[in-house]
């Protein structure tokens, strides 16, 4: 009985690109947070009862604050309501949630930190914290709205792919790797399923240790409802079937243990 839902206080909010917002929250969740974990953010609207899982983009332990970068997915959505929050407003959260990236695996290794689309934000805190041999950040965007670019440049060697080719490699993160003839011994990745599938295949072909962060619809966010499962290769010890819970056993999985 050590955890609870709490009111986080909005420290600041800004729009990074069309529909992409950056929100700094003061919350006790910051104390324990690790890169790759997420926050369950609740609305203040009684018609929307389920949490929105949003990855932690930056951690400021001193201020006890977390930065969340998120996309507004439509009118009348919870994220739309989040985007209207102003400094001083309160918003209910539970966190930190999930396992986070196993930073120790990258120690002394040549590493890819890969993010695509709205999977880009969690790569930032990861890049800030990971201690590895060659920190190659490979991120993919839709277009020239390359949010967080400056922050990435300060934290590693940055490679960008854009779908429309307006910045960096035209295509996705895999295209960028090929174009730049990059390689690595460890991969940490977050992004859309198609991208994760490609990365998983690439890692397995090349025998690279690869961790991917998955997304699934959630109800409880704490591992109790079995809403958010992903298929696993082996029978999982908790579920006793081929399912793991993204919210609790993940969101970060070893690429070889899940079937996506």
């Amino acid at each position: 009985m050590s955890r609870k839902k709490e009111m986080a206080t909005v420290l600041s909010q800004e729009m990074l690109a069309e529909g992409i917002f950056s929100l700094w929250l003061e919350t006790s969740a910051a104390a324990e947070a690790k890169p790759g974990q997420f926050l369950s953010i609740y609305t203040n609207d009684g018609t929307k009862l389920l949490p929105r899982p949003i990855s932690i983009c930056e951690i400021d332990k001193e201020k006890g604050a977390l930065r969340m970068v998120y996309r507004v997915t439509g009118e009348k959505t919870g994220t739309k309501q989040f985007s209207e929050l102003k400094a001083g407003d309160q918003i209910p959260v539970i966190g930190p949630m999930g396992n986070g990236f196993p930073l120790e695996e990258a120690k002394g290794k040549k590493t890819f930190l890969m993010g695509g689309g709205i999977g880009v934000p969690p790569i930032l805190e990861l890049a800030r914290e990971v201690d590895c041999a060659e920190k190659q950040i490979v991120v993919g965007y839709r277009d020239a709205h390359t949010f967080l670019k400056e922050e990435f440049e300060q934290n590693g060697k940055l490679y960008i792919a854009t779908e429309d080719g307006s910045v960096g490699t035209k295509g996705n993160v895999m295209d960028a790797i090929r174009e730049q003839a990059l390689d690595a011994e460890v991969i940490f990745a977050c992004g859309p399923m198609t991208m994760l599938r490609a990365i998983k295949a690439y890692a397995e072909e090349n025998g690279i240790l690869c961790y991917i962060s998955l997304e699934e619809r959630m109800a409880c966010g704490i591992g109790a409802c079995l809403g958010c499962v992903c298929k696993t290769k082996e029978v999982d010890a908790h579920s006793n079937v081929h399912n793991k819970r993204v919210c609790k056993d993940g969101p970060v999985f070893l690429s070889t243990e899940v079937e996506i």
């Binding site: 009684g46 009862l49 958010c228 079937v241």
Partner: protein, 300 residues
């Protein structure tokens, strides 16, 4: 003032339990809730063998509630007995094991097996709308409901709670059927079958197409059914459906429930069960009720 309730011979310290499937076996929630404060913990449905459940997406948000089609994923009775019962036994709360199955035999196997286990009550889920044979065939047909109740009762060493589906024309007919079959308690309601379509992707929000709706939006339907069942049978009732506050729980009790289960609300506020226990206590104080039993079904 006495918060305890006696449900078919089992004394709960207060009338609040958790709705099956929304609380796992309590472990995850034990970080948020002092399980000792609950009248009982009702566990996620367990079958004779492990079930993988449905494909994802399994859950969706709807106005004032949610839908799910978990499909009764469960680790099977063996692992459950080895891991989940000992975990719960560490707490001073009653254990209600929710049982699911695809055939009468499945149910009976689990019930028989549980006879040797240290659990307090069994809840038989004959009302899961999310798996083709997750019991709903029993739950929408009075004859089948009566027959499975009888079968289960033959094997059961603990009191049997039959859990009813709201997706029926006449809930009292179902309640009478399980009463005739020898049920000790009825619980209701399970989820209402719903559907959500994503109009931009032009597809179902839930892979299973339909899902079971729960949460505050269904509360008035649940209260109505609890009331109707209370008029129709003599069995004690565990009322559930959309309870998210002490007020909601009290409404259910005044309508005829001897105890209440809290489900979806746990997802919105993991500490809600404890708050509901406290709220009922405050209400009883304010209104001068000496015992929970004095409130049950007094609005007629």
């Amino acid at each position: 003032m006495n918060m305890a309730v006696n449900i078919a011979g089992v004394e709960w310290k207060n009338p609040v339990t958790t709705a099956s499937g929304t609380f796992g076996s309590g472990e995850e929630f034990s970080e948020f809730v002092d399980l000792n404060r609950l009248g009982a913990v009702t566990t996620k449905g367990v079958a004779n063998v492990p079930w993988p459940g449905n494909p994802t997406p399994r859950v969706a948000e709807v106005y004032g509630g949610m839908m799910n089609a978990i499909g009764l994923q469960n680790p099977g009775i063996d692992l459950f007995c080895k891991r989940d019962i000992p975990f719960l036994r560490k707490y001073d709360t009653k254990i209600i094991v929710n049982v699911c199955g695809k055939s009468e035999q499945d149910y009976c196997e689990v019930v028989e097996r549980l006879g040797d286990e240290d659990v307090d009550m069994l809840e038989i889920n004959i009302s899961c709308p999310n798996v083709k044979e997750g019991g709903i065939a029993f739950g929408q047909n009075p004859k089948a409901a009566e027959s499975i109740t009888k079968a289960v009762k033959k094997y059961a060493k603990q009191p049997v709670i039959m859990k009813l589906s709201p997706n029926v024309t006449d809930i009292t007919e179902m309640a009478r059927a399980v009463e005739a079959g020898g049920a000790d308690v009825v619980s209701l309601i399970n989820t209402l079958t719903g559907m959500k379509i994503d109009i931009n992707r032009k597809t179902f929000a839930i892979a299973n197409k339909t899902g079971g709706m729960s949460g505050p939006a269904v509360h008035p339907i649940a209260v109505r059914m609890v009331y109707q069942v209370a008029q129709a049978v003599k069995l004690p009732i565990i009322g559930m459906g959309g309870i998210a506050s002490a007020e909601d729980a009290i409404e259910m009790i005044l309508a005829g429930a001897s105890a209440v289960s809290v489900g979806t609300a746990n997802f919105h506020n993991p500490a809600v069960t404890m708050e509901i226990v406290e709220g009922i206590e405050k209400y009883m104080q304010a209104q001068g009720f000496d015992s929970v039993a004095d409130m049950v079904g007094i609005v007629k």
